[in-house]
């Protein structure tokens, strides 16, 4: 850089000025500061997001909304309600009864984590929490099935009620598996899809078995 070798600034020229960055105008709905809004708005926003995801599970089309804005509120609510509804099973001794609250919790969360790890290890491109979110939300049909089973069992515990429960649980199991597969299968390499779908099938099968074998006191 031969031309700049002898550049110098004379001492009597002050160096001064202003540095400003031109900023676009702030419109009110782009203001992300949520500190000043009323608490009702904050809660309603999260509730709306959760509700939208429930609707997506009911009609499982491939939408990126469920995957993009993941949250774990819905899975937590579903898991707790399912575990609570599975309480009160008959037990002569503690060993022979249905699953305890902690067992249901552990099966659902540990199972979801293991399936997520499995799909990531097989080369899936979905992120860890997105997968947990999808698997948790797709427990919703089975929670509905549990509710229906408890209502049917209020009416009686004979063969007819068992057949009704079997049909309901079977249908919801199929719905859960199909819904979660619709969301998760696309993120897998094509020659490994079956390897990823099978553990999901096993997971919902175990939950369905717990629901179907629930017998009240």
């Amino acid at each position: 850089f031969p031309g700049l070798a002898d550049v110098s600034i004379s001492q009597d020229i002050p160096v001064e000025g202003e540095i400003t960055v031109p900023v676009g105008s702030h419109s009110p709905d782009e203001d992300y500061s949520t500190l000043d809004e009323p608490v009702k708005d904050t809660i309603m926003r999260d509730l709306k997001a959760v509700g939208k995801k429930f609707v997506h599970v009911m009609y499982p089309k491939k939408s990126s909304a469920l995957l993009r804005d993941w949250d774990l509120w819905g899975p937590l609510v579903l898991c707790v309600s399912l575990a609570l509804m599975l309480q009160g099973g008959s037990a002569d001794s503690k060993d022979d009864g249905g699953p305890q609250f902690a067992e249901v919790f552990v099966i659902i969360w540990f199972g979801a984590v293991v399936i997520t790890l499995n799909s990531k290890l097989l080369g899936g491109t979905i992120s860890f929490f997105q997968s947990l979110c999808v698997l948790g939300y797709c427990v919703m049909p089975l929670t509905v099935a549990m509710l229906v089973c408890r209502l049917v069992l209020l009416a009686g515990a004979g063969t007819v009620s068992f057949i009704i429960r079997l049909i309901v649980v079977g249908a919801m199991f199929g719905w859960s598996t199909l819904a979660s597969t619709a969301f998760l299968a696309d993120s897998q390499p094509p020659n490994r899809k079956a390897l990823v779908v099978y553990p999901i099938f096993l997971f919902y099968f175990v939950i369905s078995w717990m629901i179907l074998t629930f017998t009240p006191q």
Binding site: G89, S90, A91, D92, K94, D95, D96, G97, G98, P99, Q100, E103, N118, K120, L121, L122, G123, N191, R192, K193, A194, L195, Y198, P199, L202, F205, V206, W209, M210, T213, F214, T215
Partner: protein
């Protein structure tokens, strides 16, 4: 080989002559992979070793030796390291399962199917499926056996799931660990031609447990004879996979140790099957003894059993 040697000497002669003429010239040497001697080496093996070739699958054992050195280079604390254990496609897993259910006499499961690409997908999910299959089938079979009885009240017996999980996962991981340690110890004393890595042993054990899944489902049938026939059949199939895998690894050892090792493998496998049948499935033709109610005049209710 003589022609190759003459050719190489001729090249050296030319190079030497050239260098003598022009000492300042720069020379570039290129290393070529020496492939020809390796093939000739495999052809020179005696016919008595053909049995080993069949078992080892020598036609690409050379390639697998090379490949084995190139895999798994990521350090063990990264996620990529564990991804190398799940590097299987659907058809590969299905092939391995098929190989464990239909063992071809004389073919080694590890060399034929695993081929230095052991995976953890098969062992883990086959064990998980087996745990839940045994628990569910046991529960169902007990339900059908005790169905008509007036004193029977159905219980889901969920605690048995954790017991089944502990047993099966302990068997599928601790027994391979012990076996691997034992084989390493014997390898240090006697040079064996065949040695397996820990993951290959876990793989063989995991896939050999697959036959128990349909067996457990069929154990719902409440006939003692049927159950024992099924047990013996599945034990033969999965036991033969294990024997054909591990016999070449201990064959060169002291005769008694080799036989004792294979016998122990089979014994533990049989113990697992018998234990599962006895614990999770109630015996079919036995009535539940009615509770003994001491009546006022001292007589007791006699239980009815076949």
């Amino acid at each position: 080989i003589a022609c190759l040697v003459m050719y190489l000497f001729a090249e050296f002669d030319d190079a030497a002559n050239l260098l003598a003429a022009n000492p300042d010239a720069t020379t570039i040497s290129i290393d070529e992979p020496v492939e020809i001697p390796k093939n000739q080496h495999s052809h020179l093996q005696e016919p008595g070793r053909e049995e080993d070739d069949e078992l080892l699958g020598t036609d690409d054992s050379d390639k697998t030796e090379l490949l084995a050195g190139q895999k798994k280079s990521a350090p063990f604390w990264t996620f990529e390291y564990y991804q190398t254990f799940f590097d299987v496609d659907t058809y590969q897993v299905l092939d391995r399962i098929k190989g464990s259910v239909f063992p071809v006499p004389g073919k080694n499961f590890v060399r034929l199917y695993i081929r230095s690409n052991p995976d953890l997908y098969g062992p883990f999910w086959i064990c998980a499926t087996l745990v839940f299959t045994i628990a569910v089938s046991g529960n169902l079979s007990n339900f059908f056996i005790h169905l008509g009885k007036p004193t029977y009240h159905y219980v889901p017996e969920f605690r048995k799931v954790s017991i089944a999980a502990t047993t099966i996962y302990a068997y599928a991981w601790l027994v391979p660990l012990a076996l691997w340690g034992f084989l390493m110890w014997r390898n240090s004393k006697v040079m064996n031609i065949v040695s397996y890595s820990f993951l290959e042993i876990v793989c063989v054990y995991g896939y050999s447990l697959f036959i128990y899944i349909p067996t457990a489902i069929l154990w719902i049938i409440p006939q003692k004879v049927v159950r024992w026939v099924l047990m013996v059949f599945s034990l033969c199939l999965s036991g033969s996979v294990l024997v054909m895998t591990f016999w070449p690894a201990v064959r060169d050892d002291n005769r008694r140790i080799a036989v004792a090792t294979v016998a122990t493998i089979l014994l533990l496998h049989a113990l697992l099957a018998v234990g599962c049948l006895a614990y999770f499935f109630d015996a079919p033709e036995l009535d539940i003894p009615a509770p003994i109610i001491p009546a006022h005049n001292g007589t007791t209710v006699i239980t009815k059993s076949h």
